[in-house]
Amino acid sequence: AQSVSQHNHHVILSEAASLELGCNYSYGGTVNLFWYVQYPGQHLQLLLKYFSGDPLVKGIKGFEAEFIKSKFSFNLRKPSVQWSDTAEYFCAVVIRGNQGGKLIFGQGTELSVKP
């Protein structure tokens, strides 16, 4: 079955540190990839997405992610985190051509940024 793995359950960083959150998926065909963020007490919001073109995609709030097809990976990066980035981050995949277009989520990574 298709699945998404996020390597880190909980990441703790100081402000201005660089961030990289790992995401791998298991599916041999074509996928669309997403990173969603859930700030405390809020709903899931889209950070960025990839579905075609340049594998390096830029999202909101200075986040970017790189799709490496050969590694089945879509890691999220930010050069310098801020306290306001404290949130839970979810990687998700949609299998292209799937009629319903359901999202398959990773287990989430909780990011805590210390001021």
């Binding site: 669309n32 969603y36 997405k49 979810f90 949609v94 009629q99 359901k102 999202l103 989520f105 287990q107």
Partner: protein
């Protein structure tokens, strides 16, 4: 900016009772979804709905669950006889027809079954 809304924000019910969770998707979207997140676990797909019928459902979505779009705006999830293990946050999402398959999520309904 248009958004997905959900009501109620928190529902407490007794085991065996029926609950209906309500969602108003973004108005020009055509695909609708329910997901759930049990505390401390990943977000899980329940069901997708398109053209007034279920297009896909997960193993979780058994006979106790049903979905309906009773009018042009609401999208509901009904749990006929709730169990303790149904306690979770339930998210509604919708999407349009863009090739990106981007889904927009509502704020969720926290269901507590006692």
């Amino acid at each position: 900016e248009p958004e997905v809304t959900q009501t109620p924000s928190h529902q407490v019910t007794q085991m065996g009772q029926e609950v209906i969770l309500r969602c108003v998707p973004i108005s020009n979207h055509l695909y609708f979804y329910w997901y759930r997140q049990i505390l401390g676990q990943k977000v899980e797909f329940l069901v997708s709905f398109y053209n007034n019928e279920i297009s896909e459902k997960s193993e979780i979505f058994d006979d106790q669950f049903s979905v309906e779009r009773p009018d042009g705006s609401n999208f509901t999830l009904k749990i006929r006889s709730t169990k303790l293990e149904d306690s979770a946050m339930y998210f509604c999402a919708s999407r349009g027809t863009s090739g990106s398959y981007e889904q927009y999520f509502g704020p969720g309904t926290r269901l507590t079954v006692t």
